[in-house]
Symmetry: D2
Subunit: 99 residues, 4 copies
């Protein structure tokens, strides 16, 4: 189980808005089984088996190209903890308990 944050941004499209690309990426993500995810104002965070998540992200990375982009910048941050089960909800809870 890992938690992975991903941002997929097309470069050189004619508009500063990228929300339609993000929405298309999410439609791909929504069809996948075995991964939980949440959208934030800056990224998508995915929880599940690391290899499964990387396979899904690889598909999502193709989405802006399929929509016409010629260059895509994809940032991935993997948080992989193996001394205990780590979840999105558990990480938030752990911080909130200390506030």
């Amino acid at each position: 189980m890992a938690i992975v944050e991903v941002t997929i941004a097309p470069l050189g499209t004619g508009s500063p808005s990228v929300s339609r690309y993000v929405a298309e990426c999410h439609k791909v993500l929504a069809q996948e089984e075995g991964v939980a995810y949440q959208l934030t104002p800056m990224s998508t965070i995915i929880e599940g088996d690391l290899d499964r998540i990387l396979t899904v992200i690889r598909k999502m990375h193709e989405v802006p190209f399929a929509a016409g982009a010629m260059r895509v910048s994809t940032s991935i941050k993997i948080d992989d903890r193996r001394d205990k089960v780590s979840t999105m909800a558990g990480k938030l809870q752990s911080v909130k308990e200390k506030l």
Copy 2:
């Protein structure tokens, strides 16, 4: 108005858990006026005047050192859009409308 994502991680502490450092950073952030923020499982996202946000992040970056860390890795991602007002809520809404 900019939206900025930040992650502040101490390196070389004796434990894989970093939630107490995140909580201390949030206490500093909570005392600041003029910035809105939200905690995600992977980062903190802050909305407001860019210079104000960078000043706040500079303070937050010192927190793990004050708590004993000898090395801190801080990642900052600025999303600065000037053709329209951009907010955390507006970005989420814009994607959700297209889903």
Copy 3:
């Protein structure tokens, strides 16, 4: 052909120094065929087929665990351009010509 930047950092190792983990990751990378790479003071940059690179990074991500780390934070940034062949040397050259 894509260009991918990767940083692999263990958390909670007890020492602020991580160079031995970086060196071990590079030994894995050096055994791979079909990818070019360079070490920078902040990351490793790899050039080649995207799927090949992601497979290599997946192996590298396991290295700190094999060396005893319990938590690993891996950041990956993919620059994938399909309107022309993009290389590490070509990107540097393109900027230098404009200076």
Copy 4:
């Protein structure tokens, strides 16, 4: 003394190429005193006093706007180590000694 990696990318410019923006940012950087830097195929790495570097990056972040961009995505990664003096050359050397 800190080492800071920065990438400044305009969104929505109409062309996948961003090298002219990178070159303009470097012209600003080249005028600054007290910071050492190097261009990599994926970023710029700057070494010096942290507050000084952040002031310089703040100036660089304005460059694409001045050149017409309406949205700029700037990624900053600070590596701040206080148990010893850390330099770009020293970090590379430390890894190479272990290879």
